[in-house]
């Protein structure tokens, strides 16, 4: 670390003191260490919250939990791209540009600094009934047999950690639109693919046929590229697009 100790990293952080207040930038200088991730940068700032101007400030507030790309809580816009602070390595960032820039997700209300309120995604899960209703505590026997391919597709969809990266990069998700976002559509597809969950596919599809539902997708297909869990979002959107089309035709002709 001796010869590395000279090297410092400039970290520009978007701050916001409370909900609805104006944001501002602060820059910190952090000693470079090998194998740092963005969380460790923020920890270094917390250890010595002094800006480059020498101003003592409050440690940067951020949300995090698992620190291994599983919980989805440390999503941030890092060097202009939505990603997880825990699995974003500083050396990789420095290879792109000399400064590290960290901002909160822009499609969610900021609680403080980098900590955003992601509850719209949990509301969306309720809207599409992203669960399988079981109306008894008694034994109901084994579930239906599922083809391995279906199970594999469902596994891919089930990896979603509600991190919000897909909403962040979606041009259709913004304050002027009601679009529910890719994540909820992916989860609706997940539960519609389950043999028991499929029994409630009607209400799920109908929830997605309302304003802000599947038809508000603009086909930019950013979601699937930004998803840190490789959830097949555009596949799910295509599948739900097909299912809602058929559901609408069926509903129209059958009643």
């Amino acid at each position: 670390m001796n010869d590395q100790a000279q090297r410092t990293i400039s970290v520009r952080v978007r701050r916001q003191d409370r909900r609805g207040s104006a944001g501002y930038w602060q820059t910190f200088r952090i000693a470079h260490q090998p194998n740092m991730n963005v969380i460790s940068l923020l920890q270094e700032i917390a250890a010595r919250p002094v800006t480059v101007e020498g101003r003592h400030t409050a440690p940067v507030v951020y949300d995090s939990n698992c620190l291994e790309n599983v919980c989805g809580s440390c999503s941030m816009v890092i060097n202009g791209r939505a990603r997880q602070a825990c699995n974003t390595l500083v050396d990789a960032l420095l290879a792109e540009r000399p400064q590290v820039e960290i901002a909160p997700l822009s499609k969610f209300p900021v609680v403080r600094d980098l900590f955003v309120d992601r509850s719209r995604m949990f509301d969306a899960l309720k809207k599409v009934r992203a669960w399988i209703p079981v109306d008894t505590y008694g034994p109901i026997g084994e579930g239906p047999v599922v083809a391995p391919e279906d199970a594999a597709t469902r596994y891919d969809l089930s990896r979603c950690m509600t991190c919000g990266c897909c909403l962040e990069v979606c041009p259709q998700v913004n304050h002027r639109s009601e679009f529910i976002g890719p994540q909820a559509i992916g989860q609706a597809a997940l539960f519609n693919l389950h043999p028991t969950g499929a029994m409630n596919s009607g209400p799920r599809l109908e929830a997605l046929m309302e304003p802000g539902g599947i038809s508000d997708c603009g086909n930019a297909q950013n979601c699937v590229k930004a998803c840190p869990k490789q959830v097949p979002l555009t596949w799910a959107i295509g599948k739900v697009g097909r299912d809602t089309t058929l559901h609408a035709i069926r509903r129209w002709l059958m009643k």
Partner: protein, 253 residues
């Protein structure tokens, strides 16, 4: 009143979105292909173009067909499309992905195509509203459709002709991109292409179609503006000749 309309729009949201997507293909996209096909004839043979245009104008119920299959669908697609476009916020500069650029271009070309369409209609179809010629009347007075169209471009200063060509080139490119890219998004929206590979293939095919349409469009634009003017009065003469032959030609008399 506005709330009643809004409630109706919200109640029929899914249907309207699907109709917006469908109308871009049928009838509007289909019309664009037919229109550019007609134009392309001008590049091959002005007479074929004239014959085809006259045939079109003989279709029974033409004004009704025009209204129901062209003007109303375009008005709906444009009006609803503007409402949709207002809800998007492009981020292609931040997220530099091809599909994201296609998203942005789809909206940019929509605005260009809409503006171009209005000018194009005033230039030809509704020119008589702003003091220009009316198709049927002009044809009745003996002008050929090719001549009339060419006149629309080159009657005026060379600068004006170049402005027309530029305007039409941009309008053509925007309309063709909007339609062809729209084919691939139509297939996604309706759930026809679900997998990524299927989407890539449809996109490639739609861009190929776009190349054909552009070739047709530019060839006809060239024929109607830059190419030396064909003598359109020539062909009727072989038929007319035996009658008119005798005195003027100094032939058998």
């Amino acid at each position: 009143m506005t709330t009643a309309v809004e409630a109706w729009l919200r109640r029929n949201h899914f249907l309207l979105r699907r109709l917006h997507s469908l109308s871009g293909m049928i009838p509007i996209g289909a019309f664009l292909v037919v229109h550019l096909y007609t134009n392309s004839l001008a590049a091959w043979d002005a007479h074929a173009f004239d014959k085809h245009v006259r045939e079109i104008h003989e279709i029974p119920y033409l004004p009704l067909i025009e209204l129901l299959l062209i003007f109303l669908p375009i008005a709906f697609h444009a009006a609803y499309g503007v409402a949709i476009a207002m809800q998007g916020r492009s981020n292609a500069a931040q997220y530099w992905w091809l599909d994201n650029w296609r998203y942005t271009l789809q909206r940019v070309t929509a605005w260009i195509a809409l503006l171009f369409l209005v000018l194009h209609l005033l230039h030809f179809r509704f020119a008589h509203w702003i003091g220009g010629p009316e198709y049927q009347a002009t044809i009745a007075r003996g002008m050929t459709p090719f001549d009339l169209t060419q006149w629309g471009f080159v009657d005026g200063t060379p600068v004006a002709a170049w402005l027309w060509v530029t305007l039409y080139s941009v309008g053509l490119a925007a309309s063709v991109f909007h339609f062809c890219n729209g084919i691939s998004t139509f297939c996604i929206t309706w759930g026809i292409t679900v997998g990524d590979r299927a989407r890539r293939r449809v996109f490639a095919a739609s861009m190929l179609l776009g190349a054909v349409l552009l070739a047709w469009g530019f060839a006809s634009l060239y024929a109607l503006t830059a190419r030396p003017k064909p003598d359109l009065r020539l062909p009727p003469q072989p038929d007319a000749r035996p009658v008119a032959l005798s005195p003027a030609d100094g032939g058998a008399s």
